[in-house]
Every structure is written in structure tokens, then in C-alpha cells.
């Protein structure tokens, strides 16, 4: 069961994860990561821009790689675009597998790649002004963990 989506509206992760778990009968474990917009000092909103012809195919390509690399029964990968407020969920990745190591590692792998290799551009609003968020060195070291 594979469910890859870009969402333009607020979502409740539990409403996705329940049905996802049900859709993979016989699983041994499900690992889920939900990222929320942090209440960083002075940040009023976060906007994610994407480029449709690359972003969704990029997520599908990442899902292909996760299925190749881990023994998975199902993968859910949902990412928000548009304007988000602090506390809103921005990303939800859930992996179902017979064994917990595959489920946990697949979520870790997808999150590292989504954060740094997916086609999203973010800016945050502070004191009424939008500021673009630059790439971070940390993201490259996260990715390097998987290059063996």
C-alpha cells in the first residue's frame, strides 16, 4: 500500500495513519514520523513553494528507493505545501513492515531525503516580512549516512 501526496490544506495525521495501518494487514510494525512547524522565536508563518512537475515525481522516486532498500509492506508519505502556522503538521511519513528495523529505517531514510533532496523552497514570516530559508550543512551530513 503506497500513498504519496502533496496537500494544500491542514491535515490531521491520525486520520491518515489509522487507515494506512488497516490497509496493511499482517504487518509486524508501523513507524511514523510527523513533523510540525516549530514555534520558533518570532516566526508567524512558514510558506512552502514547490514545482509540481518535479516535486511529486521526486517523492515517488524516493518511495521507489525506499521500497528497493527496505522490506516494506506499505509507505505513506504526505507533505504540506502553501502557508502553514506554527503547530501545524508539515510532513507525515509512515512505513509498515514485517520487522521493526525496516519500518524505522525507512522512515529515517525518507525523512533525511525529503528534508534535503526534495523540491521544496521555504520561507518564514517574521515581523510581517518573508525570509527565504537557506540549505543547511546538517542536511548533507544526514544524507551521507545512507551512502554506503
Amino acid at each position: 500500500m503506497r500513498d504519496i501526496r502533496l496537500l494544500t490544506r491542514m491535515f490531521i495525521p491520525g486520520t491518515l495513519i489509522g487507515p494506512f495501518t488497516q490497509a496493511n494487514p499482517g504487518l509486524g510494525g508501523v513507524c511514523t514520523f510527523v513533523g510540525e512547524v516549530r514555534h520558533d522565536q518570532g516566526v508567524e508563518a512558514l510558506e512552502l513553494t514547490h514545482y509540481e512537475p518535479l516535486t511529486l515525481p521526486g517523492m515517488h522516486d524516493l518511495a521507489d528507493r525506499a521500497f528497493d532498500r527496505f522490506t516494506l509492506m506499505g509507505l505513506l508519505m504526505v507533505h504540506r505545501v502553501g502557508v502553514l502556522r506554527p503547530g501545524e503538521p508539515i510532513v507525515c511519513v509512515s512505513a509498515a513492515a514485517l520487522h521493526r528495523r525496516d519500518a524505522i529505517d525507512a522512515v529515517d531514510f525518507c525523512m533525511d531525503h525529503l528534508k534535503s533532496a526534495a523540491w521544496f523552497w521555504k520561507r518564514e514570516k517574521r515581523a510581517g516580512q518573508w525570509h527565504w530559508i537557506e540549505p543547511r550543512a546538517q542536511d548533507h551530513s544526514d544524507l551521507a549516512r545512507w551512502q554506503s
Binding site: T49, Y51, P53, L54, P57, K115, S116, A117, A118, W119, F120, W121, K122, R123, W132, I133, E134, P135, R136, Q138, D139, D142
Partner: protein, 76 residues
């Protein structure tokens, strides 16, 4: 032409229309100077009709092609 991320600010809009056909030199000549300089950054990628170019200097775009200029993606 589609401008993503901070390149949209430099271009003044998220999308521009340019007359084709265009190669890389023609594209740079048709853009505002700050934007034209910004896209020389080796981390800026170019896609034509949703397909990334391996070498953006080899750009060859026709009248109806969609060129996307993609700056590095934001950190987590």
C-alpha cells in the same frame, strides 16, 4: 518561465514570459541583471518541461517550452 524560491523575488514574479527560441546566453541576456547573475550559481538547476538538465549551459528551449529555474532547496 517559472522562477522558484528566492529567484522569484529577483525576477519580480514567480513566472515570466520570454520570446523563444532561447539558449543559455539568450536566456541570461533576457533577464534582469541580478537574476542573470544569480542563476550562474552552480547550485541553481534548470528544468525544461519538468525535466532537469544535466548541463544548464546546454539549454535549448523553443517557443512553447516551460523553463524552470530552481535554486537550492531549503534546509529542514
Amino acid at each position: 518561465m517559472v522562477l522558484l524560491g528566492k529567484l522569484a523575488d529577483l525576477g519580480g514574479a514567480p513566472a515570466l514570459s520570454l520570446a523563444g527560441p532561447l539558449d543559455w546566453a539568450g536566456l541570461k541576456a533576457a533577464l534582469p541583471e541580478t537574476l542573470s547573475e544569480a542563476i550562474d550559481d552552480p547550485r541553481v538547476r534548470v528544468a525544461v518541461n519538468g525535466a532537469l538538465l544535466a548541463d544548464k549551459a546546454a539549454l535549448q528551449a523553443g517557443e512553447d517550452d516551460e523553463i524552470a529555474l530552481l535554486p537550492p532547496v531549503s534546509g529542514g
